[in-house]
Symmetry: C2
Subunit: 293 residues, 2 copies
């Protein structure tokens, strides 16, 4: 062997299986942002621990590289496969939970999802948001209140759902009227909201790409239980991004993006009279800004 | 609140910040391959632990989604940015280490890198592989031996390096001769190899994409120390994929892909006579198949 003299003046800390995390993180420069340095050091630690714990083979590593590459390459302005990946691995819900630790009694957040569109038309209380004539009509009613139960006037409520075929309007721009099953409402002095939509239906997330392949390989279905999306803004209160879920939906216990919380399951009652066959009542309880667990 | 009756018959185990890993992994079906189930459960565990430990903000999560998307979208048949990411985070070297735990005394592996091309011309001992007339010539000599020091006859050695400008032939198909600085050699009965290349030069990995942005934000340079690539096959022995590094290179202690090992630093001696100004001698010690630590 002839290497010893050539390496004589080198540092001890070359990369090894045992010291890999320390060696990689030691390269972060003093001029890196402290938060970026902290995030990346933690990421490298877990990435290496994963490979080590699972004894990752070279072939498995290659499979991962190909999977991530395909996931990036299927993304378009209309499709975000990495968000789907984050959603289906529970990361999106975990980040949502970490960033929305509300006091007991406040309505819980859940994922925004990829189908929110800003700028939906402002409607009057009682207006219909379902414009395609499909589905079973449902009256949505309730109040926006603070943690003491006092009504919040002037709260802005954005609502959106799929249509009876399980698609949002932006997924079918040629088939659905613009702003179908979307609207913006404001609460009056009593904190009440009221609109007519449809009883939402469960639907699969887009499953014809890498994430769909992953779910299939894991023996998981791609369905989300039926839900109505809400985003509630009120001055002095934390923004609430949530859904109400249709009680009794067969996918409530197996939402493929893990968005269901017990407190977000709402009653949908069949009405025997009136114009709409269903009625769902749900009160949103907002926490004040800065009021966290 | 009106949700209690609607949720009355639901299971307890909805997703929470505390139980997120268990809830996600509980969804893996019984028909998933046991190894895939094990790998994904471990991945989800570390992914969630990372987000939790670092208190990942929604904005940081969005930054990550955008970064991964760009990384996938810059990939082409000629550019694999996810492998660069794996390399620069030390994952590639860790996977290499995990999968090549050789007995003490056997030559160590290092990363294959993205520039290997199968099918390089077979050359005779002593042939020149550098075809573009650039750079400082170097005579590479040594033996392929087993752990007892016995010569291995008929070992096949593939070699490749950058040219004097720091580019591999496949990076400059219009500027470099085909197979420039590449060749395939076979050892004789004495186990010896011998060829003339150039003294390789250090070079930056492609740094005009997301990985380059990441290195810059982390205060890291994109350089690899000068090295000659070797792949050695011999019947009955483990395949060896390695480099020899040019002793004295300024980037030896800071290879941006962490490929340097102390035992792979080779002497490059200046010759005062002969046709080539440099000479580098290195012996490759192969472990028999199945002979691992």
């Amino acid at each position: 062997m002839t290497h010893s003299s050539a390496a004589a003046d080198l540092p001890e800390a070359f990369f090894t299986e045992a010291n890999s995390v320390e060696v990689v993180n030691a390269k972060i420069g003093a001029d890196a942002s402290p938060r970026l340095a902290e995030v990346m050091a933690c990421l490298v630690g877990h990435l290496h621990a994963f490979a080590r714990e699972i004894n990752l083979s070279h072939e498995e590593w290659e499979t991962g590289i190909r999977f991530l590459t395909r996931t990036g390459q299927i993304c378009t302005d209309e499709r975000q496969e990495f968000i789907l990946l984050s959603d289906t691995l529970g990361l999106s819900m975990l980040v949502d939970a970490i960033n929305n630790r509300r006091p007991e009694g406040a309505t819980e957040n859940t994922v925004l999802g990829p189908f929110f569109v800003a700028g939906a038309p402002v409607r009057k209380a009682g207006d219909r948001i379902s414009l395609d004539g499909k589905g079973e009509g449902c009256l949505f009613v309730g109040r926006v209140v603070d943690l003491d139960g006092k009504p919040i006037e002037g709260a802005r409520i954005d609502v959106w759902s799929d249509n009876a075929d399980g698609y949002y309007d932006i997924q079918q721009p040629d088939l659905q009227p613009k702003w179908n099953n979307r609207g913006t409402f404001f609460t009056g002095p009593d904190g009440r909201y009221r609109f007519i939509g449809i009883k939402p239906v469960s639907y699969p997330i887009p499953d014809d790409g890498p994430v769909g392949n992953m779910l299939q390989a894991l023996g998981r279905h791609p369905y989300r239980p039926a839900h109505m999306h809400y985003m509630v803004h009120a001055d002095g209160f934390q923004k609430l991004v949530t859904h109400t879920f249709v009680g009794g939906d067969p996918y409530l216990a197996s939402d493929t993006v893990f968005g269901v919380k017990r407190t977000l399951v709402a009653p949908f009652e069949r009405l025997m009279d009136g114009q709409t066959p269903w009625r769902s009542e749900y009160d949103f309880v907002l926490a004040r800004s800065g009021e966290n667990r």
